[in-house]
Symmetry: C2
């Protein structure tokens, strides 16, 4: 692992947005689904997934869900249920109520907070089908109160027919209400515009390959979408008090994700830097995914040596990493200085996988420096707000002239007259009542 002095090191990586050919292909698929519905959906499922299905076979049945529970180990069901309970408990605390502000003049202002009505969750096939990601996408929506949560996932993976039973069990534990065996851009288009079989949704989330990502961008506006995640990142800020073996293991747990993943150590100690680099080498040699992890470490792994914890935090704030571990003697003393980090892990026992799988906070977290302005997925991603204005007669009579002045200043006489006609008619009615 390279050891560098911390200077103008910058993490930003170019994110792929697809070739013109891929864009064209996706536009065609989306337009076909919009026009032909199920017919196009079944045609593309046969072409891309090699499965000839009827419309009535698209939806996964209760029997299949039950069968999935028979196929997985009971210990897995227990583990996923325990994780789901923690994630649910944490997200429950994010919930907010609609509120009102009752004013002395009788007016009531407020904000109405409601769940979205129907949400679609994409789950990729193959090796990227992570039960933990099903929980992290579905549970916030469910806690927000979304009544209909629809999962879509490719019908067959790498020649094997059928959906991974671990995914089905995770979906059931998380509280998915419908599952359809469709994948790719065609699944995204079906969720956005609806077909005879699949009702359209209000928002689509979940990770996918480049075709899925392009399709989400294509349908945005008709529905909401989540943000498109870049490669995963960890930054560890460590001092002499840290355990080099723990830090190295955490760096590698990030590096094993994919070759674009990034693992960065920022440390106040040159000795610790060397010890940790050696530990990374030692542990890397024994890792099953060592080729991926080694490529990630070579390209995006780095150890930055700084003069002080404060300087280290400045480096962190510039990186704005997805995950940050504070492996320093008194992490709470520095938490207030961290401005930009998606998830912050404090102390020696808060290894990143604790958060990836189990503790409760969401593991879908802004990447590539966007923690500067965006946030981990939470209940807020599945609600919508409406403003409420109940203006009293007294408030209108008192403030009408001011409102008219502001409207006329903007050249919007029609706005002023909507107020003026009320002031005139109410004054007339009051005079009449007074006679």
């Amino acid at each position: 692992m390279r050891i560098l002095p911390a200077q103008e090191f910058d993490l930003r990586r170019e994110v792929e947005y697809g070739s013109p050919e891929q864009n064209e292909a996706v536009k065609q698929i989306v337009s076909d689904i919009k026009k032909e519905g199920d017919t196009a959906l079944l045609r593309y499922t046969e072409r891309f997934d090699g499965m000839k299905l009827k419309a009535a076979e698209l939806r996964v049945t209760q029997e299949e869900l039950k069968a999935a529970y028979e196929k997985v180990e009971p210990s897995f069901v227990e583990a996923i249920a325990a994780a789901a309970a923690n994630i649910r408990a944490f997200h429950q605390k994010e919930k907010r109520n609609s509120w009102m502000d009752l004013q002395p003049d009788g007016s009531i202002l407020g904000q109405i907070i409601r769940p979205l009505k129907r949400v679609g969750v994409y789950v990729p096939g193959g090796k990227a089908a992570y039960p933990s990601s099903v929980l992290m996408n579905v549970i916030p929506a469910q806690v927000a109160g979304v009544p209909e949560i629809v999962m879509v996932t490719p019908p067959a993976t790498g020649g094997k027919a059928g959906i991974d039973p671990y995914i089905l069990v995770a979906a059931a534990e998380a509280g998915v209400s419908e599952i359809y065996r469709v994948g790719g851009a065609q699944a995204i288009a079906a969720l956005a515009y609806g077909t005879d079989t699949i009702e359209p949704v209000d928002k689509i989330c979940g990770p996918g390959n480049i075709f899925v990502a392009l399709a989400k961008r294509e349908v945005y506006g008709a529905v909401d979408i989540d943000s498109i995640a870049g490669p995963s990142e960890i930054a560890v800020l460590a001092d002499d008090s840290a355990n080099a073996a723990y830090v190295a293991a955490d760096l590698l747990s990030q590096a094993e994700h994919d070759e674009m993943a990034s693992a960065i150590l920022v440390t106040t100690s040159a000795d610790f830097a060397k010890a940790c680099a050696a530990e990374v080498q030692r542990q890397l040699a024994e890792l099953p995914r060592r080729e991926i992890a080694a490529a990630s470490i070579d390209s995006y792994g780095v150890i930055l040596v700084v003069d002080s914890i404060q300087e280290g935090i400045q480096v962190i704030n510039r990186l704005a990493p997805e995950h940050l571990e504070l492996m320093i003697e008194e992490p709470m003393a520095y938490l207030g200085l961290v401005e930009n980090a998606g998830a912050i892990f404090l102390g020696p026992y808060s290894s990143e996988p604790v958060g990836d799988y189990f503790a409760g906070p969401n593991h879908i977290i802004p990447t590539n420096g966007t923690a500067r302005f965006s946030s981990p997925v939470d209940v807020d991603d599945f609600i919508k707000k409406s403003s409420m204005i109940y203006y009293s007669k007294q408030a209108l009579l008192e403030n009408g002239e001011t409102i008219m002045e502001l409207a006329r200043r903007e050249g919007l006489e029609g706005h002023a007259r909507a107020i003026e006609i009320r002031l005139q008619q109410e004054a007339k009615a009051d005079r009449k009542a007074g006679e």
Copy 2:
């Protein structure tokens, strides 16, 4: 105004995304600013705004701000200050605290909520320069605690040199910290990437022409952006108890915005429909902006007659209008049934301009059906969240095996080992301590 039975009437309008030439032009401008900074910024300002400026002249001075107060009527300053106070009070109630959840095993989980550090607000030149929009964009950021709020606006409007003094006063009352006289795509690029004169921001908001909108899309990812607003909309749900003159005035106040604006009346009464259509004609004839309003009413205005309030609400939920007025006898009895509407105005005195200018809730509200899944601008648009995980040793020892099982199920052995190495070393340390 057309009177139709409410059936499958749908409001969706095609939103313009710019021609390929406009897209190319914007890409070039953004790339030039990114490379050349101030040099390109001054060059484009000369080309598009006809103003030859030096870098040192870009920032609006305190003296200019003071001079602006001399140029506007004192009653305007009072009106804008009163509106700002109301908007500030309402948005203050949206604020949330960071929170922690302390668990019996000693772990602490939480969500840290912080303001963005630096926000840019675009204010268009010409007739679209609305002081009220300055308040609505700036105050939520300021209430969120954003320490640096930067406004940009074209240096000259329609041949007239200088920035509109009403805009400058609104900016000062709202709490803008820096103002630069730059506009167009070049201003957006300068905010996103920074120049020697303008520090880069974390988020850009505010309305603008097609070049501004395209530039915002182009820089998205480097910074956050707000959503791009479509034409304005109002839907009024009225029964026999409503005042036709009030309803007509409110419909027209929306229609006068622009020819693409939409004003829709949904009513249970055929008689009221006719009375209101007549009132619209009568009031329209006397409106200064009657040509714009008439074009809007002709293209997008409609009166839909329904059998019941419940059916009317169903129509509203399908429209998902930006603004909704409930001009019915007991509006609160139906508020709970309204699922999709950006801002809801209840009763005869809650004319839409009350909310556009004065009451307190934001007037930047989702358009074109997106109230199904998005929300008016509020304090949440200017904060970011970080998850916090402080896991205790006890929690790790108790849950480590479960976490490892979930990681191994996903084929991520490195994740499992980050936990395993801790379980092993802590057990060893505990044994040693017990000896």
